[in-house]
């Protein structure tokens, strides 16, 4: 009795996450949409805006955008 109970408990512990259904490769239609990008629909616009912000604030970093310069152009 105790043995079966222990087995059930250990399976629940180690396989608990496996019950969550994984997203199959052919089910990534929504993830493939341009709006699902980290930087949004227009990453180049975001990068440009961040560049100006960093220049005005005399600070850089924290948002994952690479690059530098004076931003005066």
């Amino acid at each position: 009795m105790r043995k079966y109970l222990l087995m059930t408990m250990s399976f629940s512990l180690f396989m608990g996450c496996s019950l969550i259904e994984e997203v199959k490769p052919w089910e990534k239609e929504t993830l493939a949409k341009p709006t699902m990008q980290f930087a949004g629909l227009h990453p180049e616009v975001n990068k440009f805006e961040s560049h100006i912000y960093y220049s005005k604030e005399a600070s850089k970093g924290g948002s994952g955008v690479a690059g530098g310069g004076c931003g005066c152009n």
Partner: protein
């Protein structure tokens, strides 16, 4: 009673196995795809949202047009109209099946996408997952080795 609960719990967590090389395709699917005996088929799963598919499909169409191999395309778009528009845009010459209900792809259960299966006499001979550069050359060489 407790024993039965434990076993049913264990078996409920076992995943359904995907089709691999050497596996047989169910008869109903062979009939649905009109697969003839003694012919090698390339079964290509694709979708309109898949960027690699857009690159690969014109190359696959070329080898079909050159009569190198029989090709069967299976579109897995949620919206059939998206799939039809994509097929029309690429002018795909081979037979296309629309698997909106995901019945076909769930049977094959590929580990990557796009997925290509070489099939002969209802058996999977070889599988290619994911994007492949120069897929036409790869398929041509594989077909030569199979024949």
């Amino acid at each position: 009673m407790l024993k039965r609960i434990v076993y049913s719990f264990i078996f409920s967590t076992v995943a359904v196995l995907a089709l691999e090389s050497g596996d047989s395709i169910p008869k109903e699917i062979q009939e649905k795809l009109n697969l003839e005996t003694d012919k090698v088929y390339v079964i290509d799963f694709f979708a309109s949202w898949c960027k690699s598919c857009k690159k690969e499909l014109p190359l696959v169409a070329n080898i079909y047009n050159d009569n190198i191999v029989q090709v069967v395309g299976i579109n897995v778009d949620k919206n059939k109209e998206d799939g039809e528009k994509f097929v029309k845009e690429l002018s795909l010459p081979f037979p296309i099946f629309y698997d909106k209900e995901k019945h076909l792809i769930k049977t094959f259960d590929p580990l990557g996408f796009p997925a290509i299966y070489y099939v002969k006499n209802g058996k999977v001979l070889h599988v290619i997952f994911g994007a492949v550069k120069d897929i036409d050359k790869t398929i041509t060489e594989d077909i030569k080795s199979i024949k």
